[in-house]
Amino acid sequence: MKIHEHQAKEIFEQYNIPTPQGKVAYTPDEVYQIAKEIGKKVVVKAQVHVGGRGKAGGVKLADTADQAKEIAKQILGMDIKGLTVKKVLVVEAVDIKKELYVGLIMDRGPKKVTIMVSEAGGVDIEEVAAKTPEKILKAQVDPLLGVKGFQVRRLFENIFKEKDQLKTALSVTEKLYQIFMDKDCSLVEINPFAVLGDGRLIAADAKITFDENALGRHPDIEKLMDMDSVDPNEVIANKYGLSFVQLDGNVGCIVNGAGLAMATMDGVKLYNGEPANFLDVGGSSNPQKVVKALEIIMSNKNIKSILFNIFGGITRCDDIANGILEALNKINIPIPIIVRLTGTNEAAGREILKKSGKDLIPAETMNEAVKLAVEQAKS
């Protein structure tokens, strides 16, 4: 789960990581007030969940509070890569002498938290990583030991010859690691980690991504989710233990298991159809989940056919069958439904559907089911 820069900045502040003075604002008047309080040049930064805000014109410098208000009028409501800017962060403009990069990620390869530091920070860090990976120094942290002083010293000792700067860099990095572990993050990043004209170090940006599996133990973090930036159907789906992603096609897919759900989408495409969504009903399904899944799918007006591809393991085919019937009693589904049930309790599941007398199209194999669904969507 992503949060906005201003929210990540607040978390940094709770851990005493130096950040520029500033606050979030929702209207040009609020921007004016904050700029006035700061009392010097400010930067107005769009708060949206995409990279490259600066290049898209969503980050601008203002000399006066009046100018900040004018800039806010342009940025608020602006569209950046399909997302509307609804709030801005107003921060003091700082005199940046040098831009570094510090990032911590959950590194799947070595199975450690990897700290990355680069002297070539700033907007082009991804290009730096791709073209000159040797400019990014890395250290892997054993989660049972925690971050060790020597590891971070090695990352920074050639960057900071000045003792106080080195000390601050070490302490900031250790705090980032603390945030990473305390809050179950998958990414914590400062870019740029700025060296100012007066020698101070400051987190001039703040980015944190959280592990969704761990949100259950961080209700404070869960509250930070920006409902405007996520598909409401995805939120409803999550609430019911489903995972859902909207796509552009017209074949609605309801599948158990993420891998099979992806393979089903791939199959639809292979047979020259277009999947309307990714939907995984998850393990240990109950009939209620299926009802919700069908409701979500049917809220998409493009849908031309629905494909159930179920290979029961922990999911039981009889639960799915009961869910389909329950849903059919509740909602009107005027389009063809293709059902493929195999695996745990498949005989019971098929029997339930057959006995119901409902107009469902059964399929034996995945290929057959996918083919039928694509054909039905086209007819």
């Binding site: 799947r108 991804e126 298991g257 891998g259 992806m262 791939d266 990714f278 290979f311 695996g343």
Partner: protein, 288 residues
């Protein structure tokens, strides 16, 4: 031969009295797996379908001589169950639970390094050595004894491939779902190496999906080490970038972990990558 589990494997079910634990205990017992006990704190002394229930793993292992454990406890408590299993001395820990916080899995993974115990999962369907033992949630009837080793990141997609192999009349030595989370105990390379050393395994089916670089690393490993035919399927060719596709690990980010990159790497290692799961069985049949 099978790898990792066979008819002699003695299993404890952690979370045996829960909805999933109890249902799948019954299924495993019916399959013939030696389920020697279960653990649910506070329910020691009870019986669950004739399987004795213990309060903790230490007691369960010392009373039964179990050498493996399978975990069905809810995600918030799964890490604790894994540590308990590791401490109890069993050599194989299989964590079925999905939704385990990645930080928890990270710590467990680093904790077991250097210890004589193998972790499979979390968020995996478990193992199935047809005709001998099934640990986890794979439906037993879709497999039959044979000569193909199956290793997969996915759950249900594995069943699809396993079933297709069975319908082809080939059968399997062992089917292993390693899980699709970012941090898992056992990777493709570990299993590929075991199948390579198993004389009865004549071919290997490998099922990957978008996210991470395990498939790319496996491709390199296959090129250098594997002497048997490997046939692959990669799920997620049509997945959009930046979206989490159910599995915590199935997400394409910054151009990394795409289906194209995996298919190219495997192709470069001489591994055919199939268009549909069913096709995997066809290609393996041709190779044998």
């Amino acid at each position: 031969m099978s790898i990792l589990i066979d008819e002699k494997t003695k299993v404890i079910v952690q979370g045996i009295t829960g909805r999933d634990g109890s249902f799948h205990t019954k299924q495993m017992v019916e399959y013939g797996t030696q389920i020697v006990g279960g653990v649910t704190p506070g329910k020691g002394g009870q019986k669950m379908d004739n399987v004795p229930v213990f309060d903790n793993m230490m007691e369960a292992v010392s009373e039964t001589g179990a050498n493996a454990s399978v975990i069905y406890v809810p995600a918030p408590f799964a890490a604790d169950a894994m540590y308990e299993a590791i401490e109890s001395g069993v050599k194989l820990v299989i964590c079925i639970t999905e939704g385990v916080p990645v930080n928890d899995a990270l710590k467990v993974y680093n904790y077991i390094q250097g210890k004589d115990v193998r972790l499979i999962g979390p968020n995996c369907p478990g193992l199935l050595s047809p005709g001998k033992s099934k640990i986890g949630i794979m439906p037993g009837h879709i497999a039959k004894p044979g000569k193909v080793g199956v290793v997969s990141k996915s759950g249900t997609l594995t069943y699809e491939v396993v079933y297709a192999i069975t319908l082809k009349g080939l059968g399997q030595t062992t089917c292993i779902g390693i899980g699709g989370d970012p941090i898992i105990g056992t990777n493709f390379i570990d299993v590929l190496s075991m199948f390579n050393d198993d004389p009865e395994t004549k071919a290997i089916a490998m099922i990957g999906e978008i996210g991470g670089t395990d498939e790319e690393e496996a491709a390199q490993f296959i090129k250098e080490n594997i002497k048997k035919p490997v046939v692959a399927f990669i799920a997620g060719r049509t997945a959009p970038e930046g979206k989490r596709m159910g599995h915590a690990g199935a997400i394409i980010s910054g151009g990394m972990g795409t289906a194209e990159s995996k298919i190219e790497a495997l192709g470069g290692a001489g591994v055919p990558v199939c268009d549909t799961p069913a096709q995997v069985a066809d290609v393996i049949a041709e190779k044998l």
